[in-house]
């Protein structure tokens, strides 16, 4: 097998954090690869929910959009989008929300709205979609994102969704009762918030990654947990399953017919 790429490592490490009993909200741009890898390996009964209304879906290939037909074909049920946001997300039925970001700060606050000023942006990004309420309504939030100085910034340009604010008990002070960001998986490391300050700290480095590499790709001074471990490498099963999933997906999206089509 060819060597594990950083992206594969990130996906596999994120998948491991999901369990069989989780009900996961897979928002736009979120790593549905990680969610489906978990389903295809150690968490076969995990419930995946896409904001298009598909509940308990089990796609054979990764959807390109969050509303591909296969999500509905394989779902336990498909509800309207208002119902999805009212009964299922706002109703507190989701245990884990998965978010990606264009910019993130050390407290897990996220920007996917604009680079630059809101009214005269340097880059107009797609916007938040479901993120503002995913960030506050799900039991906890997992974030996956590749590290870079452009993305890991001292100060985000726009608060698309709230993480831990300026740290400490900021969430509670806003009346938010959910945990917020509890896990950040990057191509280099696994981060978790410090129990007191809520600042993300590195808890494990992927094999071969140095502290210098982590700092070079991060716009703030990186803090480490007291004990920093090495992230366990992917197993053969994880890697094979992920690669097969991507191969099926690539074939389907490049215009070939889905193999499951009847």
């Amino acid at each position: 097998m060819s060597p594990v790429t950083p992206t594969e490592f990130m996906t596999i490490a994120a998948a491991r954090a999901l369990s069989n009993d989780d009900v996961v909200f897979v928002g736009i741009g979120a790593p549905s690869a990680a969610c489906n890898l978990a389903r295809l390996t150690h968490a076969p009964d995990i419930t995946l929910i896409y904001e298009s209304g598909t509940i308990g879906t089990a796609p054979e290939v990764l959807p390109l959009s969050i509303g591909d037909g296969e999500l509905c074909d394989t779902a336990v049920t498909t509800v309207s989008v208002p119902e999805m946001f009212r009964y299922w997300l706002q109703g507190g039925r989701i245990s884990v929300g998965f978010l990606g970001a264009a910019q993130i700060d050390r407290f897990g606050n996220i920007n996917t709205t604009v680079i630059g000023d809101y009214d005269t942006p340097k880059t107009r990004l797609p916007g938040g979609g479901g993120a503002p309420e995913i960030a506050t309504s799900c039991g906890k939030i997992f974030i996956t994102m590749k590290q870079s100085r452009r993305g890991f910034v001292e100060k985000i340009d726009f608060f698309t969704s709230f993480g831990h604010g300026t740290g400490g008990d900021d969430r509670a002070r806003l009346g938010i009762t959910t945990e917020g960001p509890v896990l950040l998986v990057t191509d280099l490391a696994v981060w978790k918030p410090d129990p007191e300050t809520k600042e993300f700290t590195v808890v494990s480095l992927h094999p071969g990654v140095t502290r210098d590499q982590v700092q070079e790709t991060c716009g703030w001074t990186v803090r480490y947990a007291e004990t920093v471990e090495e992230t366990p490498p992917p197993t053969d099963l994880e890697l094979t399953t992920l690669r097969d999933l991507h191969a099926r997906t690539h074939a389907a999206h490049s215009g070939a017919r889905p193999t499951a089509a009847a």
Binding site: I28, S52, G53, T54, P63, L64, S65, I66, G67, D68, G69, L71, C72, T78, V79, S80, V81, P82, M84, F85, R86, L89, Q90, T113, Y118, D119, P121, K122, T123, R124, P126, G127, G128, G129, G130, A131, P132, E133, A135, T136, S137, F158, F159, T160, S161, F162, G165, D170, R171, L174, G175, I176, A252, H253, S254, G255, R257, P258, A261, A262
Partner: protein
């Protein structure tokens, strides 16, 4: 009461310059054929509403027909940014565009409030979110029982909602199934609704009693437009053309290439071309 019309007539009779229009569809059943007819008729100064403005709104914006956009996620789903919209926002090309930006939850609940005849939607949202500071249409209300501060947004009430559905029966009732998105809410919230359908059938015999059906008296015009959702899809009829979404990223990257594409594929085209486009995407096509 639903009138069966051809697409050009349904658009011409129901959409006027300056109208607030929602062409809805959450990835599935996006009314591409209707949007292209709107572009051919050059009906401009529109305020467009949609949770997920994607290719058709990129096209309408790029053709200069849009004054304002009310939205919650403006992207080419799974591919990237909307390059014509970016050009309008960042550079004012071909004209500046006003934005009213919300979250999905807010938009979904605002459509719901519109369908429910309410002036506003009240929900638990926007806590700690930056949009509150830039959108004066995000306000707060205190729960009169618990005192909790809840977010409030105005109900969405389009002049016209346009959707694509699987089929109508001869009486004019409309069936939507699969990923049903916010289409029912968008239709019921609107003053008028135009629906394109894959086909018209005699009746909906043996349909599940709780399937999503819009009775004929909630719809103004129905036009048959087979393939009319392409490159989006119609559950039970044809698949999503994911390759076309990837291709759009290149077309929209350049103003000239965009204009040339629109000239060939929209301005000089007819609604009938959609049927050909989906021929290879039908499940029974192999």
């Amino acid at each position: 009461m639903a009138q069966f019309q051809d697409l050009a007539q349904a658009i011409a009779e129901n959409i006027r310059p300056g109208d607030t229009v929602a062409l809805e569809g959450f990835t599935h059943l996006i009314p591409h054929a209707a949007a292209h007819e709107l572009i051919r008729q050059q009906i401009g100064d529109l305020t467009l509403i949609r949770m997920t403005p994607d290719l058709i709104y990129d096209q309408l914006i790029g053709m200069g027909l849009v004054k304002k956009l009310i939205f919650s996620y403006a992207g080419n789903p799974g591919v990237g940014l909307l390059r014509r919209m970016r050009d309008a926002v960042e550079n004012g090309w071909p004209r500046p565009i006003e934005l009213e930006e919300h979250s999905h939850s807010a938009m979904a609940q605002a459509y719901e409030a519109g369908a429910a005849g309410l002036p506003c939607a009240i929900f638990r949202g926007y806590k700690g979110a930056g949009l509150k500071a830039v959108n004066p249409n995000i306000r707060e209300v205190a729960c009169p029982f618990t005192g909790e501060a809840l977010a409030a947004v105005p109900a969405l009430r389009p002049d016209v909602t346009v959707i694509h559905a699987q089929r109508a029966n001869r009486r004019g009732d409309v069936l939507i199934e699969g990923i049903i998105g916010v289409q029912k809410e968008a239709v019921l919230a609107a003053k008028r609704a135009v629906v394109t359908v894959e086909e018209v059938v005699e009746d909906f015999a043996d349909l599940h009693p709780n399937a999503c059906v819009l009775p004929r008296w909630t719809v103004a015009g129905i036009a048959t437009a087979p393939g009319g959702a392409n490159p989006s899809y119609a559950h039970g009829y044809y698949d999503r053309d994911n390759a076309a979404y990837l291709e759009w990223d290149k077309i929209a990257a350049d103003r000239d290439r965009f204009l040339a594409w629109m000239e060939t594929h929209v301005l000089k085209a007819r609604p009938e071309i959609f049927q050909d486009r989906v021929a290879g995407l039908r499940r029974d096509a192999a």
